[in-house]
Each structure stands twice: as C-alpha cells, then as structure tokens.
Symmetry: C2
Subunit: 515 residues, 2 copies
C-alpha cells in the first residue's frame, strides 16, 4: 500500500487537508524521463507562444486566487492578506517573464558575419544564441508557499527559459502545491503543450532530494532552503558523472548597520521599523534582519531600550511546521543559556507551532564567547551587536556572504564630508552582499529587472539571482552555429529575423533583417 | 637553498633557458594577499582607464613580438609562424576587451526607479551593476604558450573585469611566461597601478594548485587543461568554507560527422582537410577532431583510404613536453594492442619528444570492445568510427559534453528535403556542444563576440566561454543598490551617467542622464 502523509495546521498542530500519496523512486524517475522526452515542445516555442504559456499560467492562478490563498492559509497559518498578496506576486512574476521573453532579449543573439579581413585570422560566420538546458528540478520553499513554490521564481524562470520543470512540492503546504499544479496543467493544455512538461513530486522521504539531484536527465537544480540541504545538493551535483549547476539560495543574516548620527533623534522610530522587519511573517523570511549593529552610546542605548520594549510585548503567529518551531526553540534555548548575553524574551502563545520572539544583545568584543550567534536562526529572533562605529568595517569583514546588507547613515556620512567610515563600510559590504540598502530594511523584495536576490556563499551557491528577470539566465546555455545555412539556424539567428528581436550584429545592436 | 627547474627543448630533450626558482607556499600566499590588498585600484578604474591598461599590455607585448615568439619556439617547438600569430591573437584579444570595456556594456547597468504604483507592492529605487569578484587564479595551458597562458583569455578577461590576477606559469614555457609577465608589469607601471595587481607563480610542485584553489582571497579560478586537474580544482573549490567558481576548460573529442552525400565526390578532399585539422600543432589543440564518424559504403571507404595514405606518410613536430609525449605513446600503444581495431601508424621521428601519428578505425558495433577509445588523447591521433548514417544520432547521444561538434552534409540534407536524419543530429549535438560547425573543422577559434568556447561537462565545468567577449562575465557578480543617495552610487549608476554608457532604465535602453 502506498504511503501517505498530510499537511498540518500550524495554529493547532492538527492534520489538515487531503491524504497525500508519497512518490517512490520509480515514479520520480519516470516523471523526469517523461519530461525529458517532451522537452523540445517548450524549447521550440516562439517567444510569443512561450510568453502566452506564461500568461496562461498567470491567468489560471489568478482565477483561483481566493481558493489558493485560503488553502495556503490553512497549511501555513500565514495571514490571508499576505497570501493573497503572494498569489499576486507570483502572477506578476510570470507576467514579467512573459513580457521579457516576448522581446527575445533572453536569446542574447550575437551574430558575427564572415570576414576574410578579420585579425589575426579570417572569421567564419558565427551566430550565437542561448538555448534551454533541459529538465530543471526545483525545490519548493516552506516560507513562500506561492512565490518560491510550485509556480514561484525558479519554476517561472525555468519555464521562461524553455525548460520542463519537476518541482519537489513542500510537505508543509502540499495541497496548495496541488492547486498550483492543476492551474499549470490547465495552462499547458490551453497552450497545446504536453502535460509531462511540468510535474510535482510529493513526499516527505529525504531520498527524493537525492533522486532528483542525481537523475541523468536533470540539467540544473533551483533550491531555496537551508545551507545544510543546499550544500548537500551542491555535493550531489558535483559528484555526478556529468556535474550540473545548483542554484541554491541558502539564507542570510542580513546585517543592518546603524551609525550614531542616523540614530540621533530617530532611535525609537528606527527600532520600531527594525522589529517590524525582523518579526514580519514570524521572522521566516530569508531577508529577515538577523543582526543589527548598533553603536555604543546614548543613541544606541535608546534604540536597544525601544527594541526591548517592543520585544517584551511581542507575540507572533505560529511557525510553518513542527520542525521549524522545535529547531527555533532549541537554538533560542541554547543561546539564552550563554553567559553574559542579554536576552529579551517576548510573549509565548502556547497553541500549535507557536514560539517566543527573542532578541539577544551582545558586545562585539564578546562575540566569540557565544557559539552560533552569527548563524541564521529561522524564526522571530534577531541579534543586536553593540560596537564602536570604527569597528563596523571589521564586523563586516567577519561576516560570510549575505543576500542583503543595510546601512542607516546620514547624507553627510555617506558623502564622506564627515569622517564616519561609512564609504569604507559600503565598499566592504559590497564584497559580500547582493543587495545593499540605504536607510531601509531588507524585507520586501521587489520583483523587477534590477533585483538581485543572491550573494556570496553561503547566501547563495552561485553569483546569480533567484528573483527578477536575470533569473532566467540560470537555465540557458550558449551555443554558437558556425557556417550554417540560413534555414538550418534557429529562427532567432536567421537572416530574416522572423522574431523581430534585437541582435548584436558585428558589434552593433539591431533589429533589422540581414540581407 | 631554493629549488630550481628549467624548461626543455622538445626537439632535443635538452634543458633550455634560465634556471627558474620554484615558489614556496609562503611566497604564493603572500602574492595572493598582496593582490587582494590592492584590488580596489583596478576595480575602481573608469572604463577608459581600464581599457587603456589593456591597450598598454597589448602594446608592450606587441613591441616584443619577435623576442617572445623566439623564446616560446625554443621551449615548445611550435613553429615560429604559429607563435607570432599567437602573439598577435593575444594582442588582439586584449584590444577587443579594451574596446568592449570602453562601452561599459560589461556593467550590465539596470536602473529601476522608485515607483509607488508598482505591483504587487511599491518599488524602491533599485540600481544594479556587475562588480569585479576580486583576485582570480589562472592556470596557464601548455598548448597555447601565449593565447591561453600568462596574458591569455582568462587573464585578459579577468583584468578587463577589474580583477587582480595570479597566474600559475606553465613549467613547459616558464621563460615565455616571464617575458609576458614583464610586459604586463611595464603596462601596470604606465597605467599607475600597483605591481601587486598581477603576479606569476613559477613551479613544478603540484601543491601549488592546492594553495591557489584554497587561498582565502582567491575568488575564482580560470583553468585550461586535463579533466583530471580540472575536476581536482572543482573539488577543492567546492570543499572550501566559501566555495568559489572554477571555470575549467577540460578538452573534448570534437566529433566530426560526415554524411554519405557529403563525401560523394569529395571524400579525398575532405580526408585531407580532416587530417590537416587533426595533426595541426601535432594534434595538441583542445579543438582537435578526435573522432570522425564516417558512413559505411564506397564513399566512406574512399575517405578512410585517403586518411590511411596521409597518415602512413605523416610526420609531426615533437610534442610539448616529456610527460605529454609519454602519455600519448602509452595510450596509443595500449589502443594498438586492442584486437580487431585497424591501426594506421605514421612516421616516427626519433629525436626529443617526437611521437608517431596514429589513426584508429573501428566499427560502431564494436565500440564497446575498446576501452578508452572515446576518451581524449592529446597528440596526433584520431579515431574513425564507421557506422550507418541512421546510427549517427545514437552515436551523438553516447558522447559526453564537447567544445565543438561538426557535421558535413549537403544543403538538401540539412534543409530536410531528403530524409537524412541531419536535422535530428543537429538537434542532438546542440545538447552537448558549445560550437556547432557546418561543413568545416573545429580547429581555429575566432576571437570574437559570438565565439563560444565551452560545452557541457567534461568539455567545461560551467556554461561559460573562455574565448570571446562573454568570457568577462565569469569574473563579475551582480550587486544592487537600493535607495542610495546619488553620490554614494558607483559612477555607472549615477543620475548624470558620467561614463555615458547604455543602461536599461525602467526597461528602456538609454545612454541619457537621469534628471
């Protein structure tokens, strides 16, 4: 008899939704093989047809917005307003990729015509384009049941690139995954594409991760989750006979630095905003500010006092699942027993997967006395580091890669008209983080062309982004056609330019046909 | 006393040139640290100043063209004409990167202005640019003492990206490496850059590879060489606390397929061209055609007969070093003793590192009887596979990743107006190779924007290119600045657009300043 599992309602800890059947290895490998066999269908779509597919998926999801959000709410306990917003973020993301694919920019078409006078030797006709990799495995994240799940950023960018996708559904929101999967299937049918182009794998068996990462036909992996699993995926992929890229987004401390001048007169206001960001979604964001670097002195003291007031009264919604809740509580308990660390505990709600928001305060000179303080702790906690402002660069140097790093400073400080060390701090954090924020907080990631969601290891495993249009390039690879007859070229490289896209021809950008 | 080594003249096997002092670990790590300490100098150059640096390097090398080629000729036994051509290729490559950097295109500047009406939530001001990684380790290749060595494609693209470079000089041409290093040092001085921006490490100690790949300040590795060392580098880089990208180009079989129709009336001519490509540089090219897939039947027989005639009389220049020569001879000896394999041996020249050109002929149905036949054998050998034309797709499917794949067919076949299987073959080889060639041979790699030199594993370790302008992107990473005051932004993102570069502003390409 097939094994089954269910989702749980984090508010109660009770089982919720349908019994979900666990996939076995034979089923997983068959789904991958089927996707590989039909891969040319999505790969060969014209830009307009591929864009229409993405639009169709967006429309099918939007049509069920309320139903999807309601289902996700039962499985995740995230608020309805957040979830309907997240559905729309997912929809907008698909539409952004549709608009991008329609331009053909993702082909990065470069044509260098034959040139007998080229130096140092004559040049043949060379026409380069990006082509889809093939079947991509995507791992849904627990904390974004829509925007980083079945139709989230990884899937959207892989489909936009022309790759079939196999998603490992997240066992904390399997019913939401099924709803999105059905929407995608309806869109595939409308677009006349084989249903095997997209599959979800359900299960709680950790071996599924191995099956997906090592299957012959899988050409790349998109992952959002813990450094532990991210590193495992990188290791599995590297040990393959044919290693494949793993695009793992593995979290981050997201340091926020405050100068004394920035806090002056605004300590209380900034403390409120910092805690709002840190406790958003019960602290279950990869961009949660996990450390606040606060200067010693009166302004910093006022900031910490306000944080303490807010935290002591703070109560948060339950965490996403039992595992996350118990790992959070274990980590906080362990840190709380560390001597000489100031611990500010909030209000515990006893039901379901509820936990106690907790803030730790430590002097920079004591940082090494406390093990694991500078690791990511998923959930409603943050660490305040008190330090001299002239120690900020040293602190930044001690940190690993980050998704984001923020700095609160004055215009004078950043322009270096006063000796603040702020420009040096910006230079240093630009070495480790993918997104630098001035006078703001890291939560809220805009889905736009300029977004960068990824930083140095361990924030992400590669120098790519998992949010924004550039995410598409993770699932494409360049191929150049040398001396090919026009008719045998991919359409985007043909003389007539049938897709009417911009190409770089002999170094000049042009959408004109070639004669 | 410091250990020393020398180069050897492959014509004689005798020591040639100066005694070279072997670097120890302390020296290597000190050079890396020094490069890291001065990295902001090259990183912060304006596009014009960075282009001028590359031009200066090109000019300094060109000024010593004869001297450099003469030195390389003594160390490698490659012909003078090839080496002077290779000096010019190296010079042209640096100038191409200079021209590219001058446009600022490598910043990939994307500006999304703040938009309170943006969906699903208001968008802050986001400005994204590519930034240099930091110190890059480059491994010089034996077979291109200039174009893939100290100032070769990896170094040129890393410098163009704004990264300091530490090159592991190749012990088969250490004096050539010193000459190029001196030219680069003169150029750095002319550009007012710290000399620590560029260093070469000399030595034959295999530990140097480990020191470079695991040093804290190394941010990326560029490598051209064997799959064995390439894989070692990937493993070392993956096991670091902070894994870094390894851009390894590890060679390829470069299959060439001939249809029966393509050979009809041209078998003899194509055989001549095939052997010219296979024996070029004594077969020491990463793009050497290592397998020729030839249809059964009269035309194929005529092709093989001509290859046999050419090979029996063929004599080649000695190989690059004693190790390459002995590995070649061992492999050829082993394969030659394999039963049922037709062996066509050329003429052996007994001096120095000379070897015997050798061609093997095998039926596709017997391919599995012969171990290592489908592996790359560096040197003047190629394998002819006889097969039915309708087996070509199956053969292509059995191959690993390739730098190139070529197909000789008629216009009718490629247009699919006759049932030849050629379009299917092209579709299949586009899955494994980075460069597809129609009616041509893989040697000769044009240094141009559209070039792709890299393919699926094991041809290369990533989906990047080591030749052509796109090589620069290996050494850059994206960083987005959110909500920054104009003056605190990198110049390429400032409102005034001081570099006058094209940027994508709210989705529209523009070189206008922002108001």
């Amino acid at each position: 008899m097939a094994k089954t599992f269910t989702a749980f309602n984090p508010e109660t800890g009770n089982s919720v939704g349908a019994e979900i059947v666990e996939w076995d290895q034979v089923q997983v490998l068959a789904a991958i093989k089927s996707a590989d066999q039909v891969k040319s269908a999505i790969a060969n779509l014209s830009p307009i047809d591929r864009a229409n597919l993405l639009e169709n998926i967006a429309n099918e999801i939007e049509l069920e917005k309320e139903k999807i959000a309601t289902c996700a709410n039962q499985e995740t306990a995230l608020p309805m307003a957040r979830l309907t917003g997240e559905v729309m973020r997912t929809v907008v993301q698909l539409r952004n990729f549709a608009n991008f694919v329609r331009t053909g920019e993702h082909f990065n078409a470069i044509i260098d015509l034959a040139d007998s006078n080229y130096l140092p030797v004559a040049r043949p006709d060379l026409r380069k384009t990006l082509q889809p990799l093939g079947v991509v495995a995507v791992f849904a994240a627990s904390n974004f049941p829509l925007a980083f799940s079945v139709a989230g950023g990884d899937s959207a960018s892989a489909l936009a690139a022309g790759c079939p996708v196999i998603v490992k559904a997240h066992p904390s929101h399997p019913n939401t995954c099924e709803l999105i999967f059905s929407a995608i299937q309806r869109a595939l049918a409308k677009s006349g594409l084989p249903k095997q182009t997209f599959a979800i794998v359900q299960g709680i068996n950790p071996q599924i991760t191995h099956w997906l990462a090592t299957a012959d036909e899988i050409t790349a992996v998109g992952f959002t989750g813990s450094p532990l699993v991210g590193k495992l995926l990188v290791d599995l992929a590297t040990k393959r006979k044919n290693p494949i890229p793993v695009f793992a987004e593995m979290g981050s401390l997201n340091p926020v630095f405050f100068t004394d001048a920035a806090l002056n007169g605004k300590a209380s206001e900034l403390a409120k905003l910092a805690m709002e960001s840190a406790l958003l979604g019960s602290g279950q964001f990869c961009t949660k500010p996990g450390i606040l670097i606060v200067p010693t002195g009166k302004n910093g003291d006022e900031f910490v006092k306000e944080i303490s007031n807010i935290t002591s009264a703070a109560k948060v919604a339950p965490l996403l699942n039992a595992g996350i809740a118990s790992r959070y509580t274990d980590a906080v308990t362990k840190l709380s027993s560390s001597p000489g660390l100031q611990v500010i505990a909030g209000v515990k709600n006893e039901t379901g997967y509820s936990v106690t928001p907790t803030v730790f305060v430590v002097d920079w000179k004591d940082i090494n006395k406390h093990d694991q303080l500078l690791e990511e702790h998923f959930g409603p906690t943050t660490v305040i580091i008190r330090a001299l402002q002239n120690e900020f660069v040293e602190i930044a140097k001690s940190l690993g890669g980050q998704l984001t790093a923020a700095i609160h400073a004055t215009a004078d400080e950043i322009a270096n008209t006063v000796d603040s060390g702020v420009p040096q701090l910006i230079a240093q954090i630009s070495q480790i983080a993918g997104r630098l924020i001035f006078n703001g907080f890291p939560t809220s990631v805009s889905v736009t062309a300029a977004m960068q969601h990824g930083g140095q290891w361990p924030a992400s495993s590669t120098h790519t982004t998992s949010v924004g249009l550039d995410a598409i390039y993770r699932f494409l690879r360049p191929v150049v056609y040398q001396g090919f007859p026009d008719k045998a070229l991919p359409a985007q490289l043909q003389n007539a330019n049938p897709y009417k896209i911009f190409r770089k021809v002999n170094g000049v950008r042009s959408d004109a046909p070639l004669t």
